[in-house]
């Protein structure tokens, strides 16, 4: 336990001192995570892990590929924004850990888009740190990223390039305790990535601390397969909080999720189709209602995941 806390604290101290500037703030990734309000740093145990907490790759048991499409702020005429995501996680074995490949994109046709290409790696460190698996499982991971910003400048801006790209990375750590408590920490954009076209514009470093609790049956109110999660995100002098819950019903086939953050309320569902050889097809849907933007029917997200 002390070793786990020491590793967590060391990671936090090393990365909190990073400083950077600007955009590429991933908010709209992973339909399961979005259904939980984006509070996923201490839950990350599927193909959404690379964009929330790369350390979660260490807990992925099956190969998984996921594809996500979305429509943000539907109902606003003149606003066409989409967020798309393709992720693949490949657990090698306990010795070599897991790897992931992810492409994510936020685009406004004819105006601007952000693309991120990620290669991630994570491994459970219990054997190295001599931690008792019956008490805690601890995983650490690293993500290499290439960020690409494209802006459709008009002819008057011919002195500027159309694309600007830069490399950076994330690191993460995730401890899942046997009593159901999860503690995660993720530091994103730890290397300054300059994406400015005319002036230096470094993507801001984001540090997220996550807490989660899982129970096969929540005491007192007896909600089955229940997870509650909280993320506290730090960026510059700003602090953001995300929170969400998840429960599986119908023999763990149907997931129901709720969550939210300051600007939005989320609700999500997921259904799992099981096939032979533990192969699974999962369909997830999330709806986000913006609380500040007016006259929008909300944002819609759908994902198709395949575990095999």
């Amino acid at each position: 336990m002390k070793k786990v806390l020491a590793v967590l604290l060391l990671t936090i101290v090393l990365t909190m001192s990073q400083h950077a500037y600007a955009a590429f703030e991933s908010t709209y990734w992973g339909v399961r995570a979005l259904g939980m309000g984006g509070a996923f740093t201490a839950v990350s145990n599927d193909a959404n892990a690379p964009l929330y907490n790369v350390a979660g790759l260490g807990f992925v048991a099956q190969r998984e590929v996921t594809l996500m499409g979305s429509r943000l702020f539907a109902g606003l005429e003149g606003v066409e924004i989409g967020a798309n995501y393709i992720g693949y996680v490949h657990p090698i074995n306990a010795k070599y850990g897991s790897i992931s490949f992810v492409w994510s994109s936020v685009s406004t046709p004819g105006l601007r888009r952000e693309d991120s290409f990620n290669i991630g790696y994570a491994r459970v460190l219990n054997d190295i740190l001599r931690l008792d698996k019956e008490v805690v499982e601890l995983s650490a991971g690293i993500n290499f990223k290439y960020l690409l910003q494209e802006v459709k400048f008009d002819v008057s801006e011919t002195d500027l390039p159309t694309y600007k790209g830069a490399a950076t990375g994330d690191i993460g750590i995730l401890a899942m305790f046997a009593n159901g408590i999860g503690v995660g920490f993720s530091s994103k954009y730890i290397v300054p990535a300059d994406i400015g076209f005319m002036e230096k514009d470094e993507v801001k470093n984001i540090n997220v601390v996550g807490l989660s609790y899982y129970s096969d049956e929540l005491p007192l109110i007896k909600i089955p397969y229940f997870t509650v999660a909280l993320d506290v995100m730090f960026r510059d002098d700003e602090t953001f909080i995300k929170a969400g819950v998840e429960s599986y019903v119908l023999d763990r086939k149907l997931a129901i999720r709720l969550g939210g953050r300051e600007e939005a309320f989320d609700i999500g569902f997921g259904y799992e189709f099981a096939f032979a050889n533990e192969t699974k097809l999962i369909i997830d849907y999330a709806f986000e209602l913006p609380l500040e933007v007016e006259e929008s029917y909300g944002s819609h997200f759908i994902a198709l995941s395949f575990r095999f």
């Binding site: 005429e77 606003v79 936020v106 002036e199 933007v293 007016e294």
Partner: protein
């Protein structure tokens, strides 16, 4: 064994898909991004210079507009600055950023800047550009010493003696070089318009910025003209007046003419008002002596309010590039800017000046980060908000 083979095959397919996606995007990026800027080898080969024909006259409309050709040498672009002196001696700078090398461009003062009170003004034009981190400044060589200010005469009143029996014309080149071959203001008296030779005076009064109309139609006074002929009480036939009142391309769907009858302005029909939007010239036939004004009517739709410049670069924001410009908003209208998370970062209340500008800053005064932003325009007249997206980049 079959399952292992199946899984390995799937992994290979996924890897190939990921790699091909990377290559496709990387190729697209490389074809656009990495433009080579040739470094300066010998600066003397291409001597930077600014070419500009001197403006002789600024007439009536209060706009000093200059046509300039800039050669920045090896630099790809630069900024142009028009400096002019007020009566008080204060020098006002108008900056135009992002000037492309070796192309004609126009730089001018905002509409109504120079009033009839300034009979003589001084101005000069310079270009500023960087080559390998060093800043260079070149002045337009309109005088022997190009750094000195040159003078331009402001004429608001055209006067001349014309024999109304024979007819005649007064024409003055207004100095607006953006009008190319059509830069003349003309007062044309037809044969028999009145009897004998008399002094004709056309006073192009200081333009009014007043606007009126509903949320669907906006009406702006674009020019006011007063016609007087000494000793002539009335005209036998109309006098043709041609003026160049506009600086920027107009979105007007309709133009109309009004005549001042006492204290009231009444619509004039049959005055043959015509407007050439390309050269921004209007012509009308004045049947009566007195004051006329030309009105532009702009039919507004949702797209009228949306900013035409959807991308703003932080480093280019300046006098002539203030930010995102939302036109036709009236006092009581408002714009709210949200980031992609749906968080409100700025609310701007229109104060009646046009355009209403979002300068890329948040409510707390900090610059917004590079990103895509959603705007929502709310009109005091009601109705749904007008939404759209803009990009602000550094």
């Amino acid at each position: 064994m079959e399952r292992v083979f199946k899984n390995i095959s799937f992994l290979i397919v996924m890897l190939a898909l990921s790699v091909s996606c990377c290559f496709v995007n990387a190729y697209a990026a490389s074809s656009e991004t990495f433009k080579t800027i040739t470094s300066v080898v010998d600066f003397s080969f291409i001597e930077p210079a600014i070419e500009h024909e001197k403006i002789d006259t600024v007439l009536a409309n209060g706009i000093l507009n200059a046509k300039v050709y800039a050669n920045f040498g090896e630099a790809t672009s630069g900024n142009a600055v028009l400096e002019y002196k007020l009566d008080s001696g204060e020098v006002v700078e108008i900056t135009k950023t992002g000037i492309t090398n070796r192309r004609d461009f126009y730089i001018g003062t905002p509409k109504g800047t120079i009033t009839k009170d300034n009979s003589i003004i001084e101005y000069r034009i310079k270009c500023v550009f960087d080559v390998d981190g060093s800043e260079y400044v070149r002045y337009a060589p309109v005088e022997a010493s190009s750094e000195t200010f040159v003078t331009v005469q402001v004429i608001n009143v055209i006067e001349g003696n014309i024999d109304g029996s024979a007819g005649g014309e007064i024409s003055v080149f207004c100095g607006d070089q953006s009008k190319e071959d059509d830069g003349y203001v003309i007062v044309s008296v037809p044969e028999g318009a009145y009897s004998g030779e008399h002094k004709v005076t056309v006073d192009f009064l200081e333009e009014s910025s007043s606007s009126s109309g509903s949320s669907q139609v906006r009406e702006n006074v674009i020019s006011t003209v007063s016609l007087d002929i000494e000793g002539v009480p009335e005209l036998n036939s109309p006098i043709l007046i041609k003026n160049l009142p506009l600086q920027n391309e107009t979105q007007a769907s309709k133009f109309s003419l009004q005549y001042q009858n006492g204290t009231e302005w009444e619509s004039v029909t049959g005055a043959s008002l015509s407007v050439d939007k390309k050269y921004q010239v209007y012509t009308f036939a004045a049947s009566d002596l007195g004051s006329y004004r030309v009105i532009e009517s702009i039919k507004l739709s949702d797209s009228s309010y949306r900013p035409k410049n959807r991308i703003v670069v932080k480093g280019k924001i300046g006098n002539s590039y203030p930010g995102f410009e939302f036109k036709y908003l009236q006092q009581g209208d408002s714009i709210t800017i949200y980031d992609l998370k749906g968080k409100k970062i700025r609310k701007i209340s229109a104060d009646g000046s046009d355009p209403t500008v979002w300068d890329g800053r948040k409510d707390n005064g900090d610059w917004a980060e590079s990103g895509t932003y959603i705007y929502q325009i709310k009109l005091k007249s009601g109705g749904d908000a007008i939404s759209g997206t803009v990009a602000f980049v550094w």
